[in-house]
Amino acid sequence: MSARIPLVDYLVLDDGAPYLVASASTASGALYFDRRNADAKSGQPGFERRRLADTGTVRTFTIVHRAAPGVPTPYVSVVVDLDGGGVVKANLVNVEPDPAHVQVGMPVRLTTYVAGTDDEGTEAVAFAYEPA
């Protein structure tokens, strides 16, 4: 099996199923995917690592037809409200990229795909969502 690396560091690829992690403010519970000096909600320092749910609902979406170079089109971009907290942006896959097949409020679940392979054969694994 080839080596794998997550596309971003808040996607965890260990022996179990892939999942997302966030920094949760110990003051407010607000969630962040990057390092923060203090909670943007409360202004208080202090964070703990929290595993996020694999399921959620589509908060909003767009279907991108004109994209950055090298990005296959059309594709669906979604903002997902995760069950139990957290908001994340990703692609919606395994769905027709057509407004008839994507709706605000549709339930989705986490999945992964290989976004690329480097010169040493390491696969970059991205997360995405698919209809639940």
């Binding site: 690396i5 990057d34 767009t62 991108v64 950055a68 692609n91 409020g105």
Partner: protein
């Protein structure tokens, strides 16, 4: 308080478009000289200069403009604040007058973008050997791999969130916004484009990011706009003609985006606009229904629709109904973007937040020619710089 009010004495903008024979300093100098002449002032009367530009933000743009129009030693504030850059330059001058440090000041916004295509979409070669970098430990560009952060898609998602929350809002309502603004621009000789399109043509144009088609996206371009601001006390000493044409700045407000859970991954253009609008209406004592015209930040058609609701131009949740009933058309309840808006007038980033005040002031002076909103006495301007910054100004015609 009256003695502390700030007024627009002079206003100007270049035609927006693409200039191959001029650079950004030429454009800024043209707008600045024209605004000074319009106000019956010279550079020697100015106590402060606010200069807004984004693409050359670190180049000392204000001092470069001074070398074209007059180096008088006054303080220069060079500012960059995304698409709210021009309005931020105005705020610098406004605050200097409010603080009593200046009686007169020049604010200029300028940009030269050329034909830039999809902003932020420049090709980036991925690493040959993956190595996490940046705040998210990314091993390659995440654009298009973890959703989109390019402007057409970001604003499409902002629009679809509203559509998902409110009945009667969809592709057609968003497209009607662009149909309107293209139609309005046919009356504005300063607009980058002056071409009318049918609703079918808008909806049938190339899809960029659903629901925004090409004709629902603002173009890139070049241009500049400038204002001369004056204190109430100094205005009182000027000529009858200058006082007659002066336009009162009844509210000047800036906000940034407060924390929300979704704002961390998808900019929220609503919260800061609503907060700025509330403060602007309170500061000016103007009610939204009193507005004779509004120039708001229609970088994409989806954005304009949201702001009908955010600026309280329609009943809560009824932005779709507002456009369906032609409320924001130039002959509607509250004309919105009679200039053609960013969608057709154009959006040279740093110039936009000054040009919208030029537009409203020109109507309040009764000098807008074919596109004049008859009898206009009060108007509002709004810009959003993504990231985010919002500026709202309420302008009122001088009392007779």
């Amino acid at each position: 308080m009256a003695d502390n009010d700030v007024w627009i004495l002079g206003a100007s903008m270049t035609k927006f478009g693409r200039y191959r024979d001029k650079d950004v300093i030429d454009l800024a100098a043209d707008a600045s000289m024209a605004a000074l002449t319009d106000g019956g002032a010279t550079i020697h009367d100015m106590d402060v200069l606010g200069a807004g530009n984004l693409m050359e933000a670190s180049s000392g743009i204000g001092q470069r403009i001074q070398k074209q129009i007059g180096q008088t030693g006054i303080p220069v504030f060079n500012v960059a604040n995304a698409c709210a850059t021009g309005a931020t330059a105005i705020r610098c001058v406004y605050l200097a007058i409010k603080a009593g440090e200046a009686d007169l000041g020049l604010a200029v916004g300028c940009e030269q973008m050329g034909k830039a295509g999809l902003l932020g979409a420049s090709a980036r070669s991925d690493r040959n050997v993956y190595e996490p970098s940046g705040r998210y430990g990314a091993v390659m560009s995440v654009e298009g791999r973890l959703g989109t952060t390019l402007m057409p898609g970001v604003f499409a998602q902002a629009g679809m969130e509203y559509a998902g929350q409110h009945d009667g809002v969809g592709f057609e309502q968003f497209a009607k916004v662009a149909e309107k603004n293209h139609a309005h621009s046919t009356l504005n000789p300063l607009a980058q484009y002056q071409k009318q399109f049918s609703l079918d043509e808008v909806m049938g144009a190339d899809m960029m990011a659903y629901p925004n088609t090409l004709l629902m996206c603002c173009p890139t371009g070049d241009g500049a706009a400038a204002l001369v601001l004056v204190s109430e006390a100094r205005l009182a000493s000027l000529s009858d003609e200058q006082r007659r044409r002066a336009v009162k700045v009844s509210a000047s407000v800036m906000t940034s985006d407060p924390w929300t859970d979704s704002d961390q991954v998808q900019p929220d253009v609503n919260t800061l606009t609503r907060a700025a609008a509330d403060r602007a209406y309170e500061q000016s004592g103007v009610d939204p229904q009193d507005l004779d015209l509004v120039e708001l930040h229609d970088c994409f058609a989806t954005a304009e629709l949201l702001h009908y609701d955010n600026l309280r131009l329609c009943a809560p949740g009824e932005a779709g109904k507002f456009i369906d009933e032609r409320g924001p058309w130039r002959d509607g309840a509250i004309p919105v973007n009679v200039s053609g808006g960013l969608i057709s007038k154009g959006h040279p980033l740093g110039a936009t937040g000054v040009a919208n005040l030029y537009e409203v002031a020109t109507h309040l002076r009764g000098e807008a020619g074919d596109r004049q909103v008859e009898g206009a006495t009060v108007g509002l301007t709004h810009v959003i710089g993504l990231g985010s910054a919002c500026a709202i100004h309420v302008l009122e015609k001088a009392a007779a």
